[in-house]
Amino acid sequence: MIDRVKKVGFLFLAILLVSFLVGAQTTVFNLIWLSSVDMPVTFGVLISSIYHDFVLMTLTPAPPAPLPLLPTIISLGLFIAFGVTWIILKWTGIEKKYAYGIAGAMALVFIVYLMPLLFFGVDMLAGARSTIGKISLIICGYLGGHFFGSRLSKV
């Protein structure tokens, strides 16, 4: 029972971690561009922007949706990817941290490539508009999955 609660807790933390990383990626990419057009981006601006984006993207509902948009989408992606990985792991001996890492990356691949198909070509995550942005978001997914897999190994 305690192990099950721990697993759910780790899943929740993985979602939170990926949401934070995706938000921070968006912030950093925005600020890099702003800096390139001579806007006064300082270390203070960086910290306050990351904080703002974490609170508004991860913890605050995005109207008209009643839930925070980013963690909802990431949860959906990770649930599916981790579910498939859990089944695959029953027959293979891949280390959990790598298997779930790849699952997390795959979840983000689907999110960054499928979302524009639903929104007339629009990338709802601003940080996903460039190839380097897409790659960095996929790495965020990998890190979240890796964290989840490595914690599971210790339960």
Binding site: W33, V45, L69, F120, G121
Partner: protein
């Protein structure tokens, strides 16, 4: 106890009576007349005369309302447009000398002929003869093409010098390009009535800059009008989540998007932590939360004397019209009107001084607002 009950009852009845008188007074100012129903997402409106109105349907047809009847036949010869997302057949304006030359201008989204995955904003002009558009020629085509079907702008107005201003939106995913001059994303464009480029455009001599650009740093500009003497150009644009703006457009100016903004992204992320910067223009009014401004007219009619000199801005969310009172170019008041009609796509002043509204829907309506006398 009985007396107290009577007093309270009288008080309540008096309150209702006062409210009734107040509401009645306001109802008496104007009334609505439905001119046409069953239009497919009506968008742009132009008046051939007070009783002959051209309406673009976003789905691609140019319709005519004559003496209060929507003609069954649409205008032929209108080029195919791309009806997708926020795109379709949209802006319409008549040449200032339409009486003599019969030129009509249309702005719409269309698929890029060289790549079907891309599309762009195109403006054409043609001669309107009865129910037919002939001699169609391209006046402007936004470059480069985009893969998104959002944020076209597609509004137009003629300046008093006879040149045409066209709004070209940022394409949603290309917002940073609004700060660069080598493209048409997020720009106000100025061309001559035949599409040639005026020699006094501000960036015409800058290498690499698109010579049609009049101003830059815009988002999705869906309203552009001039005041009655043609000396001031007003423009409004959608912000993201918050940050809709009303601007005064001047030659060569940078309006800041997305380096400065009062809005945030739909995801909740900051687009920019900055709201002002030297060299970037401030709006004369902005809205947080958004009202989704969709059309605008400068009222100079006589039917509503109290409204003379006001700007009227239609809003999709929650669905109303904002009357903006001006003192010179300063906004002094905002009044919310017509908030019982649903999403209002456009508001224009008719030649007789009435206001005409386009109600945005698959079965949209055109409604005339006249004094309730």
């Amino acid at each position: 106890m009985k007396k107290q009950f009577l007093k309270i009852s009288l008080l309540i009845i008096s309150c209702f009576a006062c409210f009734g008188v107040y509401a009645n007074h306001h109802e008496k100012e104007y009334k609505f007349e439905t001119l046409a129903e069953g239009l497919s997402f009506p968008w742009g409106i132009a008046f051939l005369s007070n009783d002959e109105i051209l309406v673009t349907e976003k789905t691609g047809k140019l319709r005519v309302i004559k003496n209060g009847n929507l003609l069954e036949d649409s205008v032929s010869g209108v080029p195919d447009s791309l009806f997708k997302g926020q795109g379709g057949l949209e802006g319409i304006v008549l040449h200032p000398n339409f009486e003599n030359n019969k030129y009509l201008y249309l702005a719409f989204s269309e698929t890029d002929p060289g790549n079907s995955k891309l599309n762009t904003l195109r403006v054409i002009r043609g001669k309107l003869e009865r129910l037919s558009l002939t001699n169609v020629e391209t006046i402007f085509k936004a470059s480069p093409s985009r893969r998104t079907a959002n944020h076209y702008g597609a509004k137009m107005v003629f300046l008093k010098d006879g040149t045409l201003l066209i709004t070209s939106g940022d394409g949603f995913s290309y917002r940073e390009m609004a700060q660069e001059l080598d493209n048409h994303f997020g720009k106000v464009i100025r061309v001559n009535d035949d599409g040639s480029i005026p020699e006094d455009n501000p960036f015409i001599s800058i290498p690499g800059a698109k010579p049609e650009i009049w101003s830059y740093g815009h988002r999705n500009l869906q309203g552009i009008v001039i005041n009655s003497d043609g000396s001031v150009v007003y423009e409004h644009e959608h912000g993201p989540r918050g940050g809709d703006e009303l601007n005064i457009i001047e030659k060569g100016k940078n309006y800041g998007w997305p380096a400065i903004t009062y809005g945030i992204d739909y995801s909740g992320a900051l687009i920019s932590p900055f709201k002002e910067k030297e060299g970037m223009e401030q709006p004369i009014k902005y809205w947080v939360p958004s009202i989704a401004p969709s059309g605008m007219t400068f009222y100079d009619g006589d039917l509503f004397p109290d409204w003379k000199g006001s700007l009227f801005i239609s809003a999709l969310v929650p669905g109303d019209v904002r009357r903006i009172s001006l003192n010179g170019t300063e906004v002094i008041d905002e009044e919310i009107l017509f908030n019982s009609l649903g999403r209002i796509r456009n508001v224009v002043s008719a030649p007789d001084g009435s206001l005409v509204l386009a109600i945005d829907s698959r079965k949209g309506k055109i409604i005339r607002v006249v004094p309730n006398k």
